[in-house]
Symmetry: C2
DNA sequence: CGAATCCTTGAACACCTTCAACAGGGGTGG
DNA sequence: CCACCCCTGTTGAAGGTGTTCAAGGATTCG
């Protein structure tokens, strides 16, 4: 009932990068079709991962980065005492594995949250390609830089914001990302568990649950298990930013 | 008493990268001297920044990345409500401004914590250079990747750790970084204020202060204002990792 | 020396966590 | 198809950790 190769072969259908609806999200190098052609040639399409399967685990040798094509996944690291720390959630068009470029092994694991298909981009091939393609080179740097920027935003979230603000920011962020991908920004499914959300936001599961309930009571959202409807995105955005007792004067060293 | 050009010109002395004690820390491209020579040619040495001066501010146009040569600085962003969020502290041999590569402007500011001299590396020149130097290209990617990795570690710290663990981790991290640079790993000066530390670690100033006191009472450190002596690095490392009530079972979804 | 800033210490409070119990799916096997 | 179980998610009450508010000391610099 679950032999690997036979069940779903649809995924092996070759989809060229230039035909991919996400091509401007993952590695939008110069508009040149020739470049895309070359890039396309090194990309491997693998069968979809089922919920719970790993793309790679912590310590796996680093060989490729991955672009999510459909579905979603989470990346997580381990604390010294063996507990998970969710680093991020990845939607279609986003790259995974960038934190491994520096080393030999993956410092974090990537696990499918639902049935998920990805493009595998062997990194040595990508580097070779980039050697002769300055635009790709520069694009890569920009992508990594963007990742750093996103991490900094998350740092601000974890460092300063209250529980409400964190969940609001999380929902607003997801909303914006879905929108960019052509999905609804008001209505979507959370593929991750409450546990994962809490872990990611630095909150207890119970807190997340209570917040969802409260947000619903306040008319901000409608939650039905994993189904989310944002009823007041503006108010959510507001909450994600200001308010709360944490918004005090810290390190205001002035000009 | 503070005209710019006249007071300290020592800093304008040309120090070639190959003679710099930090060259293996900041951009250690292939061992080739020729490469270093080329790199060296595009680097600008500017007069040292005094405590409180900015290398760049939020929103400044992005033109260069910087390598700290001596001294130290902090980078910080602004939350929506106008408060500072310290992103990181930067010691000699570390690069600053990498999160701006993706955009036109600096998303965070960099401010000297003490008298600090840096190498300014114009980014367009660096990219041009990299176009014809694959090793430099790859090195850049690795450096950015490493930055991402460090941010992920910080995320784990802010997401999961108690106040004790945070401060312990902070001290141990500083210790290791000083060691790499040839300074003492047991004894050093904190160039940043308690305020900055608290801000960085997501704690109130008062908490940081209390923790320093407690660590001292427990014989882990000796603190005298900004002067730090680590008396028991092993125990500190231990605290940085495990212990505390936060070390509970979260998101243990198993294999 | 005085002002300003940074650091420290104390006490009360608030937020979130922890512990505990229960409800609601979703799957399996009878 | 229903019963059962397991897991995820929810809700309640108590407790703790860190914050906030407040005041006093230390240090720096004009």
């Amino acid at each position: 009932m679950s032999t690997d190769k036979n069940v779903i072969n649809i995924s092996n259908i070759r989809i060229a990068c230039k035909d991919c609806s996400l091509f401007q999200l993952c590695l939008p190098i110069g508009v040149g079709e020739a470049d895309l052609e070359l890039l396309d040639r090194i990309i491997k399409h693998r069968r979809p991962f089922r919920r719970g399967e790993h793309l790679f685990r912590i310590g796996d040798p680093f060989q490729a980065i991955y672009a999510v094509r459909a579905g979603s996944l989470k990346t997580y690291a381990m604390t010294e005492d063996g507990h998970e720390q969710v680093i991020g959630f990845h939607l279609p068009g986003e790259l995974v594995g960038l934190d491994a470029i520096n080393g030999e092994c993956h410092p974090c694991a990537a696990k499918a949250l639902e049935t998920t298909s990805v493009c595998e981009i062997p990194f040595d091939r990508l580097e070779e390609l980039a050697d002769h393609m300055p635009t790709l080179q520069r694009q890569l740097l920009r992508i990594l830089s963007k990742e750093i920027l996103q991490d900094h935003n998350l740092l601000m979230l974890l460092g300063k914001k209250s529980a409400d603000e964190r969940l609001a920011a999380f929902l607003v962020s997801l909303s914006a990302r879905f929108k960019r991908r052509g999905f609804s920004s008001r209505e979507f499914y959370l593929s991750m568990s409450r546990n994962d959300i809490g872990n990611y936001l630095g909150l207890a599961v119970e807190t997340v649950s209570r917040l969802f309930t409260r947000f619903q009571e306040e008319g901000l959202v409608t939650v039905q298990r994993k189904h989310i409807l944002l009823r007041d995105i503006d108010e959510l955005s507001l909450r994600a930013g200001v308010s709360g007792p944490m918004a005090s004067s810290k390190s205001v060293n002035g000009v």
